[in-house]
């Protein structure tokens, strides 16, 4: 017998319809087993809930002054103390969380909306499209992220909205790069050639084959970039280029607090801790997502 593919090996029905493993969400299963990611998710969820509930919580308004209680240390009445105008620090922290989280999410959304289509276009089309997009990206990347954001915010004029736009645009090159590289990698897979082979159009190939397969790394990057954007917003507000008084933001609170570091250190302490915690939370969550979405190990 020279022929290993003999008909003796024809399968029975049992072999053909063998039992399949139960269907489960692998990502969620892996994320649940990662305590650091759960902690990160918990921190992020906590701040989000507090920020959303700000209007209904039993706290004084963030701009309500009380000149009888200026720069008071934390007490039963003012849990986090009061600032130099007698405003309740807890209230300002909670309302400031809104500004910080919004700045993070909105600016990253701007970066994704601009960066991903450009990156996919560059990676898919190659040639001069890629060359043009990549050269501009490299030029933007040559300037440090924060410097670029500061320059752009200064150009647009100081306001929280402009700060978000400036941060978003500064983060665009990261997403162009990532989307381009991921697109090129997905293009090497047989299933993209298979999509051409059954007669799909370029538009359908991008929508149904490229985009769904580049989402996981983009999601991870977006989570990590939210943390960076929150720091950037705090930095811009600290410099007076972000949230404008009297509206609170953690960065502008730090800016004021620096004048009273000796007399009222809690003014700097709470915003500092909050920024630290939120950034840590997003980073832990991003790292956890990266591991959970990696299909290489189960």
């Amino acid at each position: 017998m020279s022929n290993p593919v003999t008909l003796d090996t024809a399968p029975s029905r049992q072999e053909v319809s063998e039992v399949l493993p139960p269907k489960q969400s692998r990502v969620w299963r892996k994320l649940r087993k990662n305590p650091a990611a759960l902690l990160g998710g918990g921190i992020v969820a906590f701040f989000c809930i507090v920020a959303i509930l700000a209007p209904v919580l039993p706290i004084p308004g963030p701009a309500a002054t009380d000149f009888g209680a200026v720069r008071k240390a934390p007490s039963a009445v003012h849990w986090f103390g009061t600032d130099e105008l007698g405003r309740d620090m807890l209230s300002r922290m909670i309302w400031g969380a809104q500004a910080s989280l919004m700045a993070g999410v909105v600016s990253v959304t701007i970066a994704l909306v601009i960066g991903v289509p450009l990156g996919v276009a560059a990676g898919y089309a190659r040639g001069w499209t890629d060359a043009a997009i990549s050269r501009v990206t490299e030029a933007l990347l040559a300037a440090p992220f924060l410097i670029l954001a500061i320059a752009m915010a200064a150009f647009l004029g100081p306001s929280l909205t402009n700060a978000m736009i400036a941060i978003g645009i500064s983060a665009v090159p990261i997403f162009i790069r990532l989307a381009r590289a991921q697109t090129m990698q997905v293009l090497t897979e047989d299933y993209v050639e298979g999509a051409t082979a059954i007669g799909l159009t370029h538009r359908d190939i991008i929508a149904r084959y490229i985009l769904p397969n580049i989402v996981p790394p983009l999601l991870v990057q977006a989570t990590l970039t939210i943390a960076t954007a929150i720091i950037a917003e705090a930095s811009l507000s600290f410099l007076g280029l972000g949230q404008q008084p009297p509206a609170p933001s953690w960065g502008s609170m730090l800016n004021t607090a620096k004048q009273f570091l000796e007399q009222a250190p809690w003014l700097a302490l709470y915003p500092g801790i909050a920024i630290f915690l939120v950034v840590l939370g997003f980073n832990l969550l991003g790292d956890g997502l990266r591991d959970a979405l990696d299909p290489r190990d189960n």
Partner: protein, 361 residues
């Protein structure tokens, strides 16, 4: 055998050009170099050869997953090498492709149902109910339960995925299916299963199959005709039994001699082929096979042999085809034990039953 030509290539060439160095010329690889191939309606044609001989490139040229550098690929009177992209998209309903690697050829983000239904959507075949019925029938034909439609590719084994790939390729009832080593990534036991499914479907749908392979056992089992490729050229072509029994080109003889024989005393003396194929950038003069050929003479080093008729439906590109007497390999694979025969018949019956009961006609 029907001799109507369904797909034909003329002087087909694919060259890959390297980066041009600062001095001198860019290096050119001639992956497919002047191939004339006539594929007959309803046949199974196998294209065999070593790794790197251009088989997969040829397969992709046949369905324009790559565009040729030169020459034509004619399907139903049209040169698909230069039809407009939109027309080509419609032609793909008739020309389908099965990939070698079942692990990278299915989109991991789509369910099995969506994967198999997609070609019907692309070509606007049927309404929602028709498409669902067709998907269910096709799943039964490739031996998968209907419950798999909501599952994702990573939940399946290699053999199962390859059957999903076959279902996807055949759901539009194409005329020609090109298989680029469709079973070489699978275990031998699974290979037989997938080959049987492919053959059943070929019969049922009246397909023309072009199978790219390097495993001659697979070829012998499936093919009606064989074309042997070496360094971008076809060196021999003919009906499978005749070509195996009586090879005319020393390269074919060497490939046949390399088939393992599971019978004491039946092994051939020594390996006939020595060395690796030459670098395709720097091809030998004359016959491309001459540096490795045990029968090479003076003329082989200077003159390139053309593919010439050596018998009824037999072609070989060798200067000495008429004079050499090469060792073939008689058919031995036909003896089947009674038990094996019974199991084989049972499998066919059950498959036919399954196809009948799940096809709402």
């Amino acid at each position: 055998m029907n001799t109507e030509i369904i797909l034909e290539t003329q002087a087909l060439q694919k060259r890959f050009t390297g980066r041009k160095p600062f001095f001198g010329e860019a290096k050119v690889v001639r992956a497919v170099d002047g191939i004339n191939l006539k594929i007959r309606r309803g046949e199974t044609l196998a294209i065999v050869g070593e790794s790197g001989c251009g088989k997969s490139t040829l397969a992709r040229l046949l369905v324009r997953l790559m565009s040729p550098s030169d020459g034509t690929v004619v399907y139903q009177g049209r040169n698909i090498a230069n039809v407009p992209a939109e027309d080509m998209r419609h032609l793909r309903r008739d020309l389908q492709f099965i990939f070698q690697d079942p692990f990278s050829s299915l989109n991991p983000r789509m369910t099995i149902g969506a994967l198999i239904e997609e070609p019907l959507l692309v070509h606007n075949i049927g309404d929602r109910q028709d498409r669902r019925a067709k998907v269910a029938a096709m799943l039964a034909r490739v031996g998968l339960p209907a419950s798999v439609i909501d599952r994702y590719p990573h939940e399946f084994s290699g053999g199962q995925r390859q059957r999903i790939g076959i279902a996807r390729a055949l759901i539009t009832e194409p005329k020609v299916v090109i298989g680029d080593e469709p079973v070489s990534a699978l275990d031998v036991s699974i290979q037989a299963q997938v080959i049987n499914i492919l053959q059943d479907l070929k019969e049922a749908l009246g397909l023309t199959l072009v199978i790219i392979a390097h495993d001659l056992a697979v070829v012998r089992h499936m093919a009606d005709r064989v074309a042997v490729m070496y360094l971008g050229e076809i060196v021999e072509q003919g009906p499978v039994a005749d070509l195996f029994a009586n090879p005319k080109h020393p390269y074919t003889a060497a490939l046949i001699a390399a088939i393992p024989v599971a019978q004491v005393g039946a092994r051939s003396a020594a390996a006939q082929l020595q060395g690796d194929p030459p670098n395709p950038i720097d091809l030998p003069t004359g016959c491309r096979f001459h540096p490795r050929c045990p029968h090479a003479t003076e003329v082989c080093t200077t003159t390139r042999p053309a593919l010439a008729a050596t018998g009824p439906d037999r072609w070989a590109a060798c200067h000495h085809a008429a004079t050499l007497s090469l060792q073939g390999h008689a058919a031995t694979g036909q003896t089947r034990s009674a038990a094996a025969q019974a199991r084989f018949d049972l499998y066919r019956d059950r498959s036919a039953d399954a196809a009948r009961t799940t096809t709402p006609t």
